[in-house]
C-alpha cells in the first residue's frame, strides 16, 4: 500500500545523491594533476593559445564558479566540448553509450537468470558432485578478474575454435542497421534484418559472458546458500507437511525469500557492469562509452570525464532505485516497516 510513497521517497533521495555526486566528480577531475590546456593543445602550443583556452573554458575562475558554469550547462543537456574529439560531449556519449548499454543489457540478463538457475541447481544437489563443481566455478569466478576470463574466451572461441566472431560489433561486410536506438540487435530486428541481428548478437555474446561471469557465480552462491538455509525453516516444513507439491514449494515458497539477500548483491553487480566494461571493451575493441571515458581520462579531457562519470553515476543510482523497489516487492517487512 505504501509502495508509491516508498518509490517517491527513494527518487527524491537519489536526486540529493546525484547532486553530491556531480560535485565530487567535478572536483576530482580538476584536482588530479596535469594541465588540461597543455594536454588539449599539445607541447607546441604558444602561451597565448594556452591562456585563450583557459579563458574560454573558465579554467582561471575559482572551483565553485567553474562548477556553476558546468552544472548550468549540464542541466540544459550541454556537457561542454571534448578536447580530444572536438565534438560536444553529449553527442559523443549518445554515440558510444548504446554499444555499452547493449553489452550491459545482455550481461544483466545473464547475471540475473544465470545466478538464479545455477543457485537453484546447486541448492537442489546440495553437497553432491554438482554442487562441488559449481562451487569451484563460483570461487574461480570471484577470484578471476573479468579481463582474464575475457582473454580466455577470446582465445578459445575466436582463435582456437573460431566459432564465434569476437572483435567489434559486426563482422566485416555487414552494414550497420539504420540508427533507431543505436542498439544493433534491436535496430536490426526492427528493420527486419535478421542476419545482421544474429551477427550482432554473436558479437555481443562473448563480451557479455566475460562481463557477467564473476558476478553471476558469486550471486549464484548467495542464492544457493539462502535456499539451503531456508529449506529447513519451519514455514517450508509446514508447507511440505500440508502436502503442497515440491515444485510449488521450491519455485514459490522457497525461492522468493531466498532471493532477498542475492538481489541486493545483484544490484551492486549490475550497477558496476558499466564501470567494469572498459577492460572488456578494450579487449574486444568494442566502441563503447567506457573506452571513450578511459581515453578521456588519459588526455585529461575534463568535460568528457565529467560527462561520462555523470552518466555512470546516474545509471548506478537508477539501478539502485530499481533494486530497492524489487527488494521491497519481495520483502514486505521492508515495505511495511514492521508492526501495523
Amino acid at each position: 500500500m505504501n509502495l508509491k510513497k516508498f518509490i517517491i521517497h527513494r527518487i527524491l533521495l537519489s536526486i540529493v545523491v546525484i547532486i553530491g555526486l556531480s560535485i565530487v566528480i567535478f572536483s576530482i577531475a580538476r584536482i588530479v594533476p596535469g594541465d588540461p590546456a597543455r594536454m588539449a593543445l599539445g607541447a607546441t602550443a604558444t602561451k597565448e593559445a594556452l591562456e585563450n583556452f583557459r579563458i574560454e573554458n573558465h579554467l582561471n575562475e575559482s572551483l565553485p564558479v567553474q562548477y556553476f558554469y558546468w552544472i548550468t550547462g549540464v542541466l540544459q543537456g550541454n556537457f561542454g566540448m571534448s578536447t580530444t574529439t572536438d565534438r560536444a560531449v553529449a553527442k559523443d556519449i549518445l554515440q558510444f553509450l548504446p554499444a555499452t548499454v547493449e553489452v550491459v543489457f545482455f550481461s544483466t540478463l545473464l547475471l540475473i537468470f544465470g545466478s538464479i538457475l545455477i543457485g537453484k541447481l546447486a541448492a537442489k544437489h546440495k553437497d553432491t558432485v554438482i554442487d562441488g563443481i559449481l562451487r569451484v566455478f563460483s570461487y574461480a569466478g570471484v577470484a578471476m578478474p573479468g579481463f582474464v576470463v575475457a582473454i580466455l574466451l577470446l582465445l578459445l572461441f575466436g582463435y582456437m575454435w573460431q566459432v564465434i566472431p569476437v572483435l567489434g560489433r559486426l563482422s566485416p561486410g555487414m552494414t550497420a542497421p539504420a540508427h533507431i536506438t543505436g542498439l544493433y540487435v534491436l535496430d536490426a530486428l526492427l528493420t527486419g534484418k535478421f542476419a545482421v541481428a544474429w551477427d550482432a548478437f554473436l558479437h555481443i555474446s562473448i563480451p557479455a559472458v566475460a562481463l557477467a561471469l564473476g558476478g553471476m557465480f558469486q550471486d549464484a552462491r548467495l542464492v544457493r546458500n539462502a535456499m539451503v538455509e531456508n529449506s529447513s525453516k519451519d514455514y517450508l516444513v509446514a508447507m511440505k507437511g500440508y502436502g503442497v507439491p515440491e515444485k510449488v514449494m521450491n519455485n514459490k515458497y522457497l525461492l522468493k525469500p531466498s532471493l532477498i539477500p542475492a538481489v541486493s548483491c545483484m544490484g551492486m553487480d549490475i550497477a558496476s557492469l558499466m564501470g567494469n566494461a572498459f577492460l572488456i571493451e578494450t579487449i574486444f575493441s568494442w566502441p563503447g562509452i567506457s573506452k571513450y571515458g578511459l581515453s578521456a581520462m588519459l588526455a585529461k579531457d575534463l568535460n568528457a570525464i565529467s560527462g561520462v562519470i555523470m552518466v555512470f553515476g546516474v545509471v548506478f543510482v537508477a539501478v539502485n532505485i530499481i533494486v530497492d523497489i524489487v527488494v521491497a516487492y519481495l520483502d514486505p517487512r521492508i515495505r511495511l516497516g514492521g508492526g501495523n
Binding site: 500440508y242 503442497v244 520483502d331
Partner: protein, 324 residues
C-alpha cells in the same frame, strides 16, 4: 487392542547426520494413538519430541537424517515405506500439524491468504473447488479460531500480526479441512500464559468437535494433565513412561517422571523446586545402557550396561526402568 490404533510408532530410531558421524537422537520410540484419543508427549527441551512428530509426516529434509530402524504405522500402512504420492495424500488430507514457533511457521514474504489458499488448494478436501469456495474455507477457518475480521487478516503479512494471532493462524491452517489427526507441537509456548490458555481451549474445542485424534507436545505437565487422555514421557530419545494421564499423576513410577513432577512449581510456596541435576546426554556418544543413568538417583550397574525395555506394569501403565 492394537487394531483400533490409528497411529503406531514402533521402535523408531532416527539419527541426524552431523560432521563426522551421527547424532543418535531417537533411540527406540514407541507411541500408540487410538482414534479420538488425545495423547501428550512430555519431556524437557532437546529430548526428541519434535523430531518424533515431524517424522510422522516425514517432513525433515532428507539430507539431514537417516532412520536405521523402526516403523510408523498409520491406518495399518508404514509411513516410512510410502512413496511420494501416498505420503502426500496423508499430508494433504489426513494428518495436520501445528508447528512450534508461530513466528517461523509462516512464510514472511507471502500474505496469510496466499499461504492458506495454497494449503487448501492442495488439500484433499479443497482440491477441485473453485477459488471462491476455497476462500470461504480459509475465512471460515480464521473465524473458527476467534479472529475478528478475517477478510482483513487474509491480506496481512505475518509480520503485521501479533504472536498470538500468528499462533491462531497456524491452528486455522491445521483445521481448515477435516482431518483425522492433529499434531500440535507446543502450541502457545511462545505466548504469554493468558493467550496460551485461550489457544489451548480453542484447540481442545476444535479437536473435540471434529472428533480428531490429537498428539500434543508440551513441556508443561499442567497442560498435559488438563488436555490429554494419556501421556508419554520422553527422555533423550526414548519413551520412559507411558500411561493414562491420571495414572501418571497418581502413580508416578519412572525416576525421570518423578523428577519432572518435583520440578513443577506449586502455589503455596517452597520457592523454586529441586529439579533434576545434570543435562541430557551427548547424542553423538550416548550412554550404553539406560540414557537416564548418568542423572538417575536409583542407578545400578545394570543401568550402565543394559537398555531397559518399556514394560507393562499393569493396566496399560508402561515404564522403562529396572529399579521401580
Amino acid at each position: 487392542m492394537a487394531d483400533d490404533k490409528i497411529l503406531e510408532i514402533k521402535d523408531l530410531k532416527l539419527w541426524y547426520k552431523v560432521y563426522k558421524g551421527y547424532s543418535k537422537v531417537l533411540d527406540g520410540v514407541n507411541i500408540g494413538v487410538h482414534k479420538g484419543e488425545k495423547v501428550g508427549i512430555v519431556g524437557e527441551a532437546g529430548c526428541g519430541k519434535t523430531t518424533t512428530v515431524k517424522s510422522i509426516l516425514n517432513v525433515i529434509p532428507e539430507y539431514q537424517y537417516i532412520i536405521p530402524d523402526g516403523e510408523i504405522f498409520y491406518k495399518g500402512k508404514d509411513i516410512l515405506k510410502m512413496n511420494m504420492k501416498e505420503i502426500n495424500q496423508v499430508r494433504s488430507g489426513e494428518i495436520s500439524m501445528i508447528y512450534q514457533e508461530p513466528a517461523n511457521a509462516l512464510n514472511p514474504v507471502f500474505t496469510i491468504g496466499q499461504q492458506m489458499m495454497d494449503v487448501v488448494n492442495y488439500s484433499k478436501q479443497g482440491k477441485g473447488k473453485n477459488k471462491a469456495e476455497q476462500k470461504e474455507m480459509v475465512l471460515q477457518a480464521i473465524r473458527d479460531v476467534f479472529i475478528p475480521d478475517p477478510e482483513r487478516i487474509f491480506d496481512y503479512y505475518p509480520n503485521q500480526l501479533s504472536g498470538g494471532m500468528k499462533q491462531r493462524i497456524c491452528i486455522a491452517m491445521a483445521i481448515m479441512t477435516q482431518r483425522d489427526m492433529m499434531i500440535a507441537d507446543e502450541p502457545g509456548t511462545a505466548l504469554d500464559v493468558t493467550i496460551q490458555d485461550q489457544v489451548h481451549k480453542t484447540l481442545n474445542r476444535l479437536v473435540e468437535e471434529r472428533n480428531m485424534s490429537l498428539i500434543m507436545i508440551t513441556h508443561s505437565l499442567g497442560v498435559a494433565r488438563e488436555l490429554t487422555d494419556s501421556i508419554h514421557v520422553m527422555y533423550a530419545g526414548t519413551v520412559v513412561e507411558s500411561a493414562k494421564t491420571e495414572d501418571v499423576f497418581k502413580d508416578t513410577l519412572h525416576p525421570y517422571t518423578v523428577g519432572l513432577m518435583e520440578a513443577v512449581p506449586r502455589l503455596g510456596g517452597g520457592g523454586i523446586q529441586s529439579g533434576i541435576y545434570g543435562a541430557i546426554p551427548d547424542y553423538q556418544y550416548p550412554p550404553n545402557g539406560c540414557r537416564f543413568a548418568p542423572r538417575c538417583s536409583r542407578v545400578t550397574e545394570q543401568c550402565q550396561n543394559c537398555k531397559p525395555e518399556l514394560k507393562d506394569v499393569g493396566g496399560g501403565h508402561k515404564v522403562a526402568c529396572f529399579n521401580l
